[in-house]
Symmetry: C2
Subunit: 293 residues, 2 copies
């Protein structure tokens, strides 16, 4: 069993980005600039945004954090989005999700100029990804593909089973895994809460991508020997023994599943760091206007 | 074994559309107007477009057929697309594919105003479909869903295997089948030319959707008893015994597969008529401005 070290891969990619940014700056080019809007003070969101700001610094990007209180109106948020759309210095920006209940998340996502949508959530980027056109691929699926590539894990013709059909992980990673590309070119099955005979299917997986958000859902009896497991789950499970009062827990029962695996990602330190890293890659692409002019 | 009669279902849906159009006209509303651009004189394309024009008449729509010679330049075609984008009387339009090699098909698709893109091929409609937002769903996948609904074929939790990963059938129908909807909510596997152990997977299918474009690819040993088979293939295979000189042939070896099926679509008369019918449904939605203003 080999542990997939997302932290190390992410560090290496960020180093490469930093080198390229240095070269851009040396030639008098524009420093890539990522802005993030954070609404309210949700613990998880605070942590994610802090990691993103830190990653920007590591890459040599400029970053701007815009904080809005949780009682901000939808109109005020949309007006801030429009301001960032118009700001020529901002190459890409994100609105950290989830948003408070009184705000229509989808409306906010669609208000973002797709050319600055480095999260890859706008319908144009989702559609272009599905068709196989250049676009901002959403960060977690892109990070998973980078991990598979880094460890030279064969995907062509293999059976990849995806647990979960969310718009930000399950569906896009399924699409990427089936495209005629490398990594990719896999036979892909998507399972979810309504799936019957789940275990019969997961036991067929050469590559299992768990993105349900149900802590320790995948048990040893659900996988075959030699499987590669990518654990996208990051649920904060209350825990009295940690300083923070919770423990970040994946969708996979790591201790019992790991011995059966060829490769497995830990939580934390697997997919998580890669997600932030993909956001940095998208920001660099936005800065260089590589995808959209 | 029950034969799925796409021709009958399509006729029924077109009747319903015609009634609604009659009511719209009676109230002084606008007659839905579909335009089609046909480049060159490919036999298949000529037939498809003729069927679409006929279906418009059956539904009470206005239709316009614009013919361009096969040596039309890309710029001339794009200028015609722009003309239709601007024409307030045209509610929706299609550019019949395939286009001559010297024209960039994707560029033409993206030039169509997504609000008039009744084929559902524009990235915005593809992305919105994937996310689950109101949009023009592309015609063949939508027609397949309508057939499953009409025959009350249970899809929830069932294993649906899709053969083929094209942008216009395989990928979108896979997405529709996995969404939390009815029909839908299925476990979905997408197979393609690179898939290993194909037969092991197709034999698991409760619902098999064949969209490879390889005549008679699916044989009896590839399916289990009681399967529902949807055959999307429509290859023109040369045949000396027919008046036209060819025989429209599906992806399924019908004679040997049919006896094992609960339900099966014939070719012709299965998915084909439904595809045109879905285009009519989209045109009505466009005419009523039900999806986009």
């Amino acid at each position: 069993m080999q542990l997939i070290d997302g932290k190390a891969v992410a560090a290496k990619i960020k180093e490469e980005i930093a080198k390229e940014v240095q070269a851009i700056k040396a030639e008098g080019g524009k420093t890539p600039h990522l802005a993030a809007i954070l609404v309210g003070h949700d613990g998880g969101s605070e942590t994610y945004v802090a990691h993103k700001v830190k990653a920007c610094a590591e890459c040599g990007f400029k970053s701007t954090l815009i904080r809005l209180e949780s009682d901000v109106t939808e109109a005020e948020l949309l007006s801030k989005v429009e301001e960032l759309n118009q700001d020529a210095d901002v190459d890409g920006f994100i609105v950290q999700l989830p948003l408070p209940k009184h705000i229509d998340e989808q409306k906010v996502i669609e208000a973002i100029d797709y050319r600055k949508d480095v999260d890859g959530f706008h319908p144009i980027n989702v559609g272009r990804m599905s068709i196989g056109l250049p676009c901002f691929v959403s960060a977690t699926p892109a990070g998973i593909m980078d991990l598979l590539a880094h460890y030279n894990i064969e995907t062509k013709g293999k059976h990849c089973v995806v647990l979960g059909r969310s718009n930000i992980v399950g569906k896009p990673v399924a699409t990427l895994m089936m495209q005629k590309s490398n990594p990719g070119n896999a036979t892909v099955t998507v399972c979810h809460s309504a799936s019957e005979n789940l275990k019969d299917i997961t036991r067929q997986a050469d590559i299992l991508i768990a993105a349900l958000g149900v802590p320790e859902f995948v048990t040893a009896d659900m996988v075959k020997d030699g499987v590669t497991v990518i654990d996208v789950g990051t649920t904060r499970v209350p825990n009295a023994n940690t300083k923070s009062g919770f423990k970040l827990t994946g969708d996979v029962k790591f201790d019992e599943v790991a011995p059966k695996c060829s490769y497995i990602t830990p939580v934390p330190g697997g997919v998580g760091p890669m997600t932030i890293c993909s956001l940095m890659k998208n920001t660099l692409l936005a800065g260089k206007k590589s995808i959209y002019k």
